[in-house]
């Protein structure tokens, strides 16, 4: 039993089910990120935790108390909205203490809580301003301050960074992470940005079409994605998915695939149980950073396979160079060191870290577990 329990929660509008039997137990102090493309049901789930939308079936419990049907204000939660939702007619200070005022907290106590949080977020000098006079980043801080002042059991964030420009978004991301490390609060955070999900969370729930596709730590999600959707949604550039066939060579499973010129190539698997798939088609998943120049290959890896292939395009990005090639009839991207000597059209000897490779069943799209 967790601090925040989501048990078999379903949401339906009439006959249409938009969220199917979601089951997540969040521990105290955890930072859970719900991530998925738009329309996957992540915001609906967040609104159900907040009490802004009804629960069709199942139950949600906070600190062991079932909150189905409990008014949002009585769940001891606080929410930061995408648009910040600051009251335009009130000053920053009034905005932040409005919730306490509504809960009948005496003025002296309100002022003390306000002063503490304002200092923590470094917005003391803004307290008498109206939201309209603040910059995007400042509004973001005030919105977080309004949530913090209440000292709630659970913080809910609904895509809080998506209205900020790229640079500020990175800054605020670090800021939120710092705040979480300092305060050890329980957070449920909704985003469609997989980098936010990876960097902030202690656990991620990847959602699609109303189903939780996978629930796990960022490392689990990234290294051992449960299915094709999770594999391609998380990570940028996305994981290369290459059609291949399992072939036993001396009893060891290899991935047989074709290179850019249609010639057959073999890559030895580290995963022994794939021997059972001998002769069958699979989808081979390799992240771009697992295909490198030989000098850039991971020295700790026990299974680096050479792969000579023709280079289609090189994209120097400053810190790395992305190289596109054709593999198994599809485009695949390799991530090389910035100064790797590689140019378009040449045949280049890549190094593939097969320890990091994963295999998917083309029929079910699920990962073939070791």
């Amino acid at each position: 039993m967790g601090f925040l329990d989501i048990r078999n929660v379903t949401k339906a509008y009439g006959q249409v089910e938009v969220l199917h039997r979601v089951d997540i137990a969040v521990e105290e102090g955890e930072f859970l990120v719900l991530v998925g493309p738009s329309g996957c049901g992540k915001s609906t789930l967040l609104n159900m935790i907040a009490g802004l939308e009804g629960i069709s079936a199942g139950e949600i419990a906070i600190k062991g108390r079932v909150v189905n049907g409990v008014h949002p204000s009585k769940r001891n939660i606080a929410m930061v909205f995408q648009s910040y939702a600051l009251y335009p007619n009130m000053t920053v200070g009034q905005n932040m203490t409005f919730g306490l005022e509504m809960h009948g907290v005496p003025k002296a106590e309100r002022d003390r809580a306000l002063a503490d949080v304002a200092k923590l977020l470094q917005i003391d000098h803004l307290l008498d301003r109206k939201p309209g006079q603040l910059s995007g980043g400042q509004r973001q801080r005030v919105a977080m301050g309004r949530a913090l002042v209440r000292n709630p059991d659970v913080f809910l964030f609904d895509e809080p960074l998506s209205n900020l420009d790229a640079k500020l978004r990175v800054d605020m991301r670090t800021e939120i992470k710092k705040l979480h490390q300092k305060l050890k609060t329980t957070i449920v955070y909704v985003t469609h940005d997989q980098i936010e999900a990876m960097t902030l969370s202690t656990r991620i729930a990847v959602m699609n079409k109303g189903f939780v596709q996978q629930l796990g730590t960022p490392k689990e999600i990234y290294d051992t994605p449960a299915n094709l959707f999770v594999a391609t949604f998380m990570g940028s550039p996305a994981m290369n998915i290459i059609p291949a066939r399992v072939k036993l060579v001396d009893g060891v499973p290899h991935a047989a695939l074709t290179d850019a010129d249609g010639a057959p190539r073999l890559l030895r698997f580290s995963q022994a149980n794939l021997a059972a798939w001998d002769g069958r088609d699979i989808l081979l998943g390799i992240r771009p950073e697992a295909i490198t120049d030989p000098e850039g290959a991971d020295r700790k890896s026990g299974n680096i396979q050479p792969l000579a292939n023709r280079v289609t395009v090189t994209e120097p990005a400053g810190s790395d160079t992305f190289v596109t090639m054709t593999l198994g009839g599809r485009d695949a991207i390799a991530r090389m060191r910035a100064d790797a000597a590689v140019s378009a059209g040449q045949i280049y000897e890549f190094a593939v870290n097969m320890e990091k490779a994963v295999a998917f069943d083309p029929a079910t799209e699920g990962r073939i577990a070791p």
Binding site: L52, S73, S83, P88
Partner: protein, 292 residues
């Protein structure tokens, strides 16, 4: 080359501008003419008007017509002047405007932020009430007022105008609040504010422009209404009905100067409202249209 073209554009613009201002000035004068006639004739002795000098400035300036219109002129059978009717109108218009505006604001709030099954139908029906001609409801309205015991009273007139005004005020406030972010209402709900607290603390403080639109619209319509006043006024008739009784009297001398003064008196409150709140009126209409 660019400079030359720009030059021509500017001088062309200047000529066009002069032309436009001249035209506007002409229209303004044309519009102000009736007011001028009313103004100068209300401060002239009657003899000067009947002598044929409608357009000329008065030779003898006098405020007697104004005094007469206000307190001594014959209205129907009583020599009371317009004063008691003016009071009737004020007693009618203030509560009617206030109530219809507040109810409209509440309706708009519910129709946009507390949506329920069939809310668009409810709104559609309220909108429909804006298109019902006054004449159609006269008889049913008379029956209802009679049953309520409000026939021929100021509260009866207030009720009639509130009922008739709610359609318009609801339309204004609904469209204004539709552009108001719902996330704010949700945030306030999580903060623990109730239905009326959200309305009072979050929505009303930003409703200034549309409230002005609603007040001006309602004030003008209710103050200027004649049909309901004449039909349901009974002993407490409003200003418009009294003015008609003053001007349309078929016996005795036609005191045109008094009539002009009375007509201006009847128009003063609406003029006052426009002068005070007129610039917010345009702003409110724009806010509704642009944001919506």
């Amino acid at each position: 080359m660019a400079a030359v073209t720009q030059d021509t554009a500017v001088s062309m613009g200047r000529i066009a501008r002069v032309f436009i201002y001249l035209l506007l000035l002409l229209f303004a004068l044309f519009y102000l003419l009736p007011l001028y006639v009313m103004g100068i004739n209300s401060v002239k002795p009657l003899a000067e008007i009947t002598g044929g000098n409608m357009m000329a400035l008065p030779q003898v300036w006098t405020l007697d017509p104004w005094r007469s219109a206000w307190s001594t002129a014959q209205i129907g059978v009583e020599p009371t002047g317009l004063k008691p009717y003016f009071l009737n109108s004020i007693l009618m218009v203030v509560p009617a405007v206030a109530i219809s505006t507040i109810v409209g604001a509440l309706n708009g709030y519910v129709l946009t932020k507390w949506r329920f099954r069939g809310d668009t139908w409810v709104f559609g029906l309220m909108l429909f009430s804006c298109f019902i001609p006054f004449q159609i409801v006269l008889i049913p309205m008379a029956m209802v007022l009679g049953k309520l015991g409000l026939a021929g009273t100021v509260p009866g007139l207030v009720l009639v105008h509130v009922v008739y005004g709610i359609g318009f005020t609801t339309l204004y406030f609904r469209n204004y609040y539709a552009a108001f972010p719902t996330e704010l209402v949700r945030a306030a709900q999580i903060d623990g504010a109730g239905f009326f607290q959200i309305f009072w603390r979050i929505l009303l403080p930003v409703s200034g422009p549309i409230a002005v639109v609603s007040v001006i619209w309602q004030f003008t319509n209710i103050w200027n209404d004649f049909l309901f006043g004449a039909s349901f006024g009974g002993t407490s008739q409003p200003m418009t009905v009294a003015l008609n009784n003053l001007v349309q009297s078929s016996t005795g001398v036609k005191e045109y100067n008094v009539h002009f003064a009375g007509a201006i008196l009847a128009a003063l409150p609406t003029l006052f409202v426009y002068f005070v709140a007129g610039r917010y009126f345009v702003r409110g209409l724009m806010a509704g249209s642009v944001k919506g």
